[in-house]
């Protein structure tokens, strides 16, 4: 067993090294263990997120950990069509063969309420009472940490596809049951820094939320951009209260320093309000952002307001499908979306894009790992996932064996208008700009090293 694992890892490491040496720019196909191919997708014309058909009997249980109630309940609503879409697809294909039996996927909801204590309680309930096989989540790094701790205690694999704080997977907090499929703070900012090192602008203003996340995002961006572009100047740096009402005083302060780019890592509703108020103040400068992607906001900003938004979420974009596969998924989703009822009839769900696309990708990866493990035994899942190389619809994703951090090429785009057709008759957006040309930041420019204390852990 150990030998097999060693051999497996050795092969993996070798192939990884080969991939890195030979194909550093991701332009060529990397050798992959498996892939998600939308051509194999079931007929989804009966899919309705408001009415997900939970399978009966012996199932694979996925614990959907999200903020389902309270003022931030939008998070829980947002990803529900994603997990149910993937589960519905897999279930229609007959489920996954685990431990010699075809099982369908059942989704059990755990409400974190946005509070650590509720997150802990609900994770315990899901692990002990519902006996879920895997956990899926979650918005908020402090909540993800609680879930990861409980997951470790009860040995349940946890796919973190939404919380990006570096610290979650460092030497102190790492646990072998948690896998992060999302890029972390450093990856995201290395990519952003790489992107801006190729652009002419040198004067940057930073405006982030005043808490750990905002500070670490800004810190990482400054550090990595300075490294790539020493002449850069950070002309202002401010951190605002969460849920700020009036951005104008900050904007006046920022305007006085005459920046060329405004960098923000704000999430909702701050990001939206910031963008809106920046444009209202008559500021046309590019806004480098991660979460200003909500269609509702973009629509309100209009064409003038949305051009010059620079979004760096590891997304697949609607207007420039990179592959035919992507276009197929886009079409299947978008056509189906037109039949959905409230709240999923909103424009927000029109495309599986940005954060939705990314998590959909990850969810398929998770199911694929279970399929290949042929079991819901956590040890078998870990064995398959560690070092896995997966062809997703947004390029190749590699799960680093040592620190369970997914690494991959990142995509950044400057929003432009008009947008192209995603498929004949379907514009990505009307009335506001969307992703234009997509810049690929090769993996090697946006991959931080494995934390010192975790190096060689998996061997």
């Amino acid at each position: 067993m150990a030998e097999k694992k060693l051999f497996f890892n050795l092969c993996l490491t070798l192939s990884l090294m080969a991939a890195l040496v030979l194909l550093p720019h991701g332009g060529f196909a990397q050798e992959v263990n498996s892939s998600f191919n939308p051509s194999e997708m079931s007929d989804m014309s009966d899919f309705d997120p408001n009415n997900f058909q939970q399978p009966e009997g012996d199932t694979i249980k996925l614990g959907y950990m999200q903020i389902m109630s309270g003022a931030a309940a939008s998070n829980g609503e947002l990803f529900w069509p994603i997990v149910t879409w993937a589960a519905h697809d897999i279930n229609k294909r007959g489920g996954i063969l685990v431990d010699g039996k075809k099982k369908k996927i059942e989704i059990v909801t755990g409400d974190t309420q946005g509070k650590p204590e509720a997150a802990k309680k609900e994770t315990e309930r899901l692990c002990l009472e519902e006996k879920v096989d895997v956990l899926w989540g979650t918005s908020g790094s402090h909540l993800a940490k609680v879930i990861a701790d409980v997951a470790k205690k009860y040995k349940v694999p946890f796919m973190n596809c939404l919380a990006l704080s570096d610290e979650l997977m460092d030497e102190k907090n790492f646990n072998r049951y948690t896998f992060r499929t999302l890029s972390n703070t450093t990856q995201w900012n290395m990519a952003m820094a790489y992107y801006f090192s190729k652009r002419p602008e040198t004067r940057f203003s930073i405006l982030c939320q005043d808490y750990m996340y905002g500070h670490s995002m800004a810190g990482a961006f400054k550090k990595h951009l300075k490294k790539l572009k020493p002449e850069v100047e950070f002309v202002s740096e401010d951190y605002h209260q969460l849920w700020l009402k009036d951005f104008a005083p900050y904007l006046t302060k920022i305007m006085a320093t005459n920046p060329e780019v405004l960098y923000t890592a704000d999430w909702l509703p701050d990001g939206d309000n910031l963008a809106k108020q920046v444009r209202n103040m008559g500021l046309e400068l590019p806004i480098a952002n991660i979460y200003i992607t909500l269609r509702e906001t973009l629509k309100a900003l209009g064409v003038d307001g949305t051009e010059n938004l620079i979004n760096g979420y590891c997304f697949m974009s609607g207007d420039t499908p990179q592959t035919e596969a992507q276009a197929k998924l886009m079409k299947a989703w978008h056509e189906q979306w037109k039949t959905w009822k409230a709240p999923y009839d909103s424009d927000t769900y029109a495309w599986p894009e940005v954060v939705l696309g990314s998590t959909l990708n990850d969810t398929y990866w998770l199911f694929d790992v279970i399929k290949r493990a042929g079991s819901t035994d956590p040890e078998k899942i870990i064995e398959v996932w560690e070092g896995d190389v997966f062809q997703s619809i947004q390029g190749i994703r590699t799960m680093r064996a040592d620190d369970h951090q997914a690494v991959y090429d990142m995509y950044i785009s400057d929003y432009t208008y008009p947008t192209k057709e995603v498929y004949p008759g379907a514009l990505y957006s009307e009335g506001f700009a969307g992703p234009g040309e997509i810049i690929t930041v090769p993996q090697k420019y946006c991959t931080p090293p494995v934390p010192e204390g975790l190096k060689g852990r998996a061997e």
């Binding site: 946005g114 009472e129 609680v146 996340y213």
Partner: protein, 329 residues
């Protein structure tokens, strides 16, 4: 109000023994999930009971009781985080002391106001604590809170050392500590000081002219209330092994015990405990079947205030009275 003196009989021991047996067997019968839910219930019972001291005995409503609770929780967490080798009961008492100290600090301010102004001033102080907790990152670690600190074992010198990381062991600790708190608070209402507190609620001016130093008496109540809220916070910190500004100081942390108090029944000692139980059960049921917990809470509050101002305890007394009347007629 004097306890009826009846001949001691085996009957009066039946109920406490039954409760004792249920409490002992609980974690083994219902498992970890329900054990942890019970610990929440116990923590919030004490927290709500400490608030009840202000509402039912001083007649003022605190909208910032999380100040004391969160203060206790953070004190315990930070002490464990920075100092090694602290005993279990020491850190719990540190939490209580922090709550009491905060009560002492704010008492000169609180003594100046009453009624709505009191509610608002406590709201302001609670929010100030929340903001400060987010801002003083070098002490509190900001949003992420203080977590992962070592939980000391319960060491009984020469007898045993018990690991507090398991739900069952912690359950017994929490039940003992928190029952003790409730018992102390109940006892307090029976002491001369307790009669003075009740007097202040009914007629503060008269209490003043009976020769009791009103500000001093109130300050002591704030300190005691802060102490027990601090203990509740300390147990919460140990239980979670994580204290965050949202969990400790958020406005909802202040509102939750208010809701419990009202649902249980204001002006009674059992009110906060019953309320905590009812609210915990409702939350448990609600999270399983719906995401609209706040809707249930809202409707419950409106119904209680509109139709059963005496809460569940009052409802129980009413029903008992009705039944009793039927029996006797």
């Amino acid at each position: 109000m004097i306890a009826k003196k009846s001949a001691p009989s085996w009957k009066q021991w039946v109920f406490p023994c039954l409760v004792g047996v249920i409490l002992l067997a609980y974690p083994w019968v219902l498992g970890t999930v329900y054990t942890n839910i019970f610990i929440y219930f116990a923590i919030f019972s004490v927290f709500a009971a400490s608030l009840n001291m202000l509402v039912s005995y001083l007649g003022v409503l605190s909208f910032g009781h999380a100040l004391f609770y969160g203060g206790g929780a953070y004190a315990t967490a930070l002490f464990l985080d920075h100092i090694e080798g602290l005993g279990l009961f020491t850190v719990i008492l540190i939490g209580g002391a922090a709550g009491a100290a905060l009560g002492l600090i704010v008492s000169p301010l609180l003594n100046r106001v009453k009624a709505t102004a009191f509610a608002l001033l406590t709201l302001a102080l609670g929010q100030l604590a929340y903001m400060a907790c987010l801002k003083l990152r070098f002490i509190t670690y900001g949003e992420d809170g203080v977590g992962g600190f070592p939980i000391p074992d319960l060491t009984l010198p020469g007898i045993a050392s018990i690991n507090m990381m398991t739900a069952e062991n912690f359950y017994y600790l929490a039940v003992v500590v928190l029952s003790l708190c409730l018992l102390l608070m109940w006892f307090l209402t029976k002491t001369p000081f307790g009669s003075i507190m009740i007097g202040i609620r009914d007629n503060p001016d008269r209490v003043d002219f009976l020769g009791f130093n009103l500000p001093m008496t109130k300050a002591i109540v704030f300190v005691i209330s802060g102490f027990f809220a601090g203990i509740a916070g300390a147990v919460y910190a140990l239980f979670q092994n994580l204290v965050t500004p949202d969990g400790a100081f958020h406005i909802m942390t202040s509102f939750t015990p208010i809701m419990m108090l009202f649902v249980g029944g204001i002006g009674t000692f059992a009110g906060p405990i019953v309320g905590s139980g009812v609210m915990t059960i409702i939350e448990e049921l609600a999270t399983r079947y719906t995401t609209q917990i706040a809707l249930f809470n809202g409707i419950l509050l409106v119904l209680v205030v509109m139709y059963f101002r005496t809460g569940f305890v009052g409802l129980y007394l009413l029903i008992r009275e009705k039944l009793f009347q039927k029996e006797s007629s």
